[in-house]
């Protein structure tokens, strides 16, 4: 039995750890197009900001591969998968055999066809090398234009802002973080960004990256406004990294299609993490939810099934914790309720940077948006969303900052606090 994993992040580690619970001996190979020991991509903004160091970037310690009997093939891009011959083809035409394959290639930055996007100081911001290159030239950089004020854009801005680089961000939507927050919550974050000296332009877009020769020196917006800069970061979002399996027969919809065991339509080929579309348990639709905790969980379920286990994926829902300094935010589940049957409870204390919104459907908690000190104890709400039990008995307490187990029925508390979990 040969296990092969394409990708080297959360889902891959989840898979390795699950496989080794079931199968101590058979070899595992990990292929990565990066040169690094398994590291944490979300840490690149902290590295840029100087808030963490290179030696703290790693997600597992240096013995991880050795202890788990994993062979690594680094710095090699996979160009194809032959599911008939059970082989993965590398860019140097080398082939690697497998019996069980996991595709855990994550997301790849989406760069729209903006004129001038290929100039050399136009970056994306998802990999260690992106941060490294930006850090290398950062001393000479005074002004950056960031395209996109979503999660990735915000993290890049935070990093640049921390090292004193002037930033303008251009966002197509009317608000920052529009996919994670609602309008009132976004405004609190935008105000903090502006107080930190970031210029925020919304309802607009970059139509051209201008420059001298190969070097970008500015951007032109839809309304003809021109902004000079030394660097452009495109941070519009990520899409599942599936280019290399286009001709493999593996079914792709919005992401790779998998069943509840994380197996694709091809037997023996599994997929997990940001590259798949998996079940959103709140909407019952399959969609990519590119977040770390679900990637690890899906990888773990794939690994278990690859090695004889029977675990199933019960679904997840979007959740994010992101902080622009002074404005921590946590968003959970459905945050833009559309259609019938939703009820929102809102406490807006924008003046003090605090906001809490609770979204209920059929007596169940289905979403929440928290800004400021209301992020404390957010996980209790996550738990209630996961459990989908009625919250009507304590609905009037859900907006309280000190909402907790004392507000829940005695039986629920006994279940949670007095038994082993």
């Amino acid at each position: 039995m040969k296990y092969l994993i394409i990708g080297n992040s959360a889902a891959a580690v989840g898979a390795v750890e699950a496989i080794r619970r079931n199968d101590k001996g058979n070899p595992i190979t990990i292929i990565s197009d990066e040169p690094h020991h398994v590291y944490s991509r979300p840490l690149i903004s902290y590295l840029l900001a100087g808030h963490t160091k290179e030696d703290k970037m790693y997600y597992r310690d240096e013995n991880f591969y050795k202890e788990n009997n994993v062979e690594t093939v680094f710095n090699k891009r996979v160009t194809g998968v032959d599911t008939k011959k059970k082989q993965v083809i590398l860019e140097d035409k080398k082939k690697i055999d497998y019996d069980k394959l996991l595709i855990a290639t994550g997301g790849t930055p989406f760069v729209p066809p903006i004129k001038g996007k290929d100039r050399k100081n136009v970056y994306t911001f998802t990999k260690w090398s992106d941060a490294e290159e930006i850090i290398k030239i950062s001393k000479k950089v005074q002004k950056v234009v960031v395209i996109g004020a979503g999660m990735i854009g915000l993290k890049a801005i935070e990093g640049l802002n921390a090292i004193g680089i002037d930033v303008t961000v251009v966002e197509l939507a009317p608000e920052v973080l529009s996919r994670a927050l609602d309008k009132d919550a976004s405004r609190i974050v935008q105000r903090k960004m502006e107080e930190a000296g970031v210029e925020v332009i919304t309802n607009n877009e970059v139509v051209e990256i201008t420059g001298k020769g190969n070097v970008a020196t500015g951007v032109v917006l839809r309304d003809k406004k021109k902004i000079k800069c030394d660097l452009v970061i495109v941070a519009i979002g990520v899409i599942p990294n599936t280019g290399f399996i286009k001709e493999s027969g593996i079914k792709i919809n919005r992401g790779i299609v998998v069943d509840e065991r994380m197996e694709t339509n091809i037997k023996g080929v599994y997929a997990a993490g940001d590259v798949v579309e998996a079940l959103n348990m709140l909407t019952n639709e399959k969609m990519p939810i590119p977040i770390w905790p679900l990637a690890y969980r899906q990888g773990s379920i794939a690994g278990d099934n690859m090695s004889g286990g029977t675990l199933v994926y019960k679904g997840g829902f979007p959740m994010n914790s992101i902080e622009f300094p002074g404005a921590p935010t946590i968003s959970l589940g459905i945050i833009d309720p559309r259609g019938e049957g939703y009820e929102s409870l809102i406490k807006n204390d924008a003046k003090n940077g605090n906001y809490k919104r609770i979204i209920i459907k059929n007596e169940r908690l289905v979403g929440a948006i928290l800004v400021g000190d209301d992020v404390d104890r957010a996980g209790i709400l996550t738990g209630l969303i996961k459990e989908q039990k009625p919250v009507t008995a304590f609905k009037d307490k859900l907006l309280d900052r000190n909402f907790g187990f004392v507000h829940m029925p005695r039986e629920h508390r006994r279940e949670k606090l007095e038994k082993a979990i």
Partner: protein
Amino acid sequence: MKIVYPKEEACMACRLCEVACITEHSKSKDTLKAYKKENPTPLSRTLVEEIFPGLSVSVMCRHCSDAPCIEACFTSAMHRKPDGRVIVNEPKCVGCWMCIMACPFGVIKRNQYIGEGQGARGKGQEIKIKLSSKCDLCPDRSIPACVEACPNKALAHEER
């Protein structure tokens, strides 16, 4: 594994568990110094929830066998010790609050203070440090400080 279980019928919201926890997690191990002098001010890793009068319960980490906080942590600061305890490796933590988002018990705290940075920028400088703090079951003690401090046996250190 032995963890701390609350018994709400015996809890009278005296919060001595919080005091004991703060003292145990201070540098000086002296209650008054811990409260008045130390930077960072140590945080209690247990929280007494209360509806006055009559209902209170001290809530702290359950050291879940399938811990959502570990899964959510992208730095691997949140990890499980071989003895089963779920622990924060503080130097690795960057204060992203993913664990706070994930913990269904709401027992992980935002620990924020001004201190010396450890990255490229903050080295030797005073910057805002952010990290997650939670119950570590008092590794230097045979019985956790909160359990020992409770005057009414409302906390039990046992295996269930």
